[in-house]
Symmetry: C2
């Protein structure tokens, strides 16, 4: 359907390591029928993919454009380790022919989504007391990588902060934890949270658990999940992952005090949702000594909307307008 109304729409895009999803929004409202997906490998850069999209949408004219990048954004420039695209305001403004542009980290975009998701897109994991309207919130993403974004409501508007918290020290409290930490350090020179709490990290954890059991072996993430019933090492890997995820999420809760709630997102977090209760996510999250009671103050839920980053881009643009 050609969309010729000038300056009515916003262009939003979610740029991952492999694919880019692009859509139009009207104000805060993402238009789901406009979502298209492109393989990054088929395009030389951001301009190419956005121009192709706009052409396919009938050369719609956009007032604003916002992209979410699955990598760090610094001084307005987004970066993805495996992609040499230039992702800055000038390129985005030129590609989208838009006046207002913004470049967000993907977790920041998820932070801007809060309050704009359909209620059935949030699945509760841990309940907590009813939060104050201006309470801080925290988005934690586990997928290809691990990261988080604290969301602060101020009397002026919303502030979503950037982070690289997937690269902090992996917590270790037992001898087994330390062996895992050193197993990761041998491969990466440093035992970071993301080196275990991510898709590839989960596979690395299976290797570690297998080695500990005296039978070194490797499996793909989907296979580990699928064989939990037959392979005790797969089951132990899932249990270990859930415990570590709980411990790390608990540390992040103490750091950001998200009395307004913690929101898990990303493909790996969503895949683990059905297993969090069985394998003790709550106990690991709350295992903070004399602060264990405080830990019951933070409700936790999972964002099930796969297009949340696009909605977040639209909400952020609307807040700038």
């Amino acid at each position: 359907m050609p969309r010729l109304a000038a300056d009515r729409y916003a262009l939003v895009a979610d740029i991952g390591g492999t694919n880019t999803r692009v859509a139009l929004a009207e104000g805060r409202q993402l238009l789901p029928e406009t979502i298209r997906r492109y393989r990054n490998a088929d395009h030389p850069g951001l301009e190419s993919v956005l121009r192709r999209y706009l052409h396919e949408e009938g050369d719609v004219d956009c007032a604003g454009a916002c992209i979410a990048v699955a990598g760090p954004v610094r001084d307005g420039v987004g970066r993805l380790t495996n992609l040499d695209w230039t992702m800055d305001a000038r390129t985005l403004a030129r590609a989208a022919k838009a006046e207002t542009v913004a470049i967000l980290n993907d977790l920041e975009a998820q932070g801007h989504t809060l309050g704009h998701l359909a209620p059935d897109m949030l699945r509760p994991v841990l309940t907590g007391p009813e939060p104050a309207a201006d309470a801080a919130r925290l988005v934690i993403g586990v997928g290809t990588g691990f990261n988080a974004a604290p969301v602060h409501e101020t009397r002026w508007g919303r502030v979503v902060a950037a982070s690289e918290c997937g690269h902090v020290t992996l917590p270790a409290r037992t001898e087994a934890d330390l062996r895992l930490s050193q197993f990761v350090e041998t491969a990466h020179g440093f035992p970071g949270v993301e080196d275990v709490l991510s898709g590839r990290g989960f596979e690395r954890l299976y290797q570690f658990v297998s080695r500990e059991a005296g039978h070194p072996a490797g499996k793909k993430a989907a296979e580990i999940m699928a064989t939990m019933g037959d392979d005790p090492r797969a089951r132990e890997t899932v249990a270990h992952f859930v415990r570590l995820f709980g411990a790390v999420a608990g540390d992040l809760a103490l750091i950001h005090l998200p009395f307004g709630g913690i929101f898990l997102c990303g493909g790996v977090a969503r895949a683990f949702t059905p297993h969090l209760a069985e394998f003790g996510f709550a106990a690991a999250f709350r295992d903070k000594g004399r602060f264990s009671e405080l830990m019951t103050s933070f409700p936790v839920s999972v964002i099930e909307d796969d297009y949340a980053a696009l909605t977040g881009c639209a909400a952020h643009l609307a807040s700038l307008g």
Copy 2:
């Protein structure tokens, strides 16, 4: 000197575990000659100490009042573990007879100080690139406890977030780290950062180092610092403390991305300042594998102003006005 000009002044106070310091400010400007100190034990509550102060200052009438509390502030109520004073907006407004009141955590107050300190009150520890004016900053306090406050500059104004990051998992990467972690866990049920990185934590670390050396012993913090030249265990305790401090500060830098700088404050941080270079603070701070280069982006300095929390209270009140 009696101050009778109505509504010209702001009342500011810094409430610690043992003493409360109270002063007047004119706008953002702390009036150093008005600073008085009171022992908390001599007063039944906040009202008593503030009324006494105001009486001693000639019953000055204050337009605003702001207190910094060395403990968590939740829903506008400050708490100190060893003090049963009621510290909320109503009590503060009544005691100070002020219209505008605010209750901050002491680290939040330090965050509001940034940009309002005399240049000679900042001592550089690690240099970094010239930061952008709106770059995030981070205050880390080490004294009776450990905490931090991220400072975000937005297009509307400054946002300082609350934290309880002294209670996250103590990092452990070596067998010795893990033994320390378990030594702390035996005493506290959980190995928190503050259980080592604080005044009492430093004494606990000396006990651990002595025990590791086969000669269990204890010393007060000041004595450990004073005997570094004679007692190898005191020296090793200082070295271990500095390394852990660097590792924890590095993790907090990855979490908050303070490209505008990290500002250390608190009595213990100030006491360690002369020893940070010798014992490898920079190396520990930057020891983050492939993120080591990013770690050179964060300048670190020490706030040497003992009254910074009072200045921060004044700056915060002025920003509300």
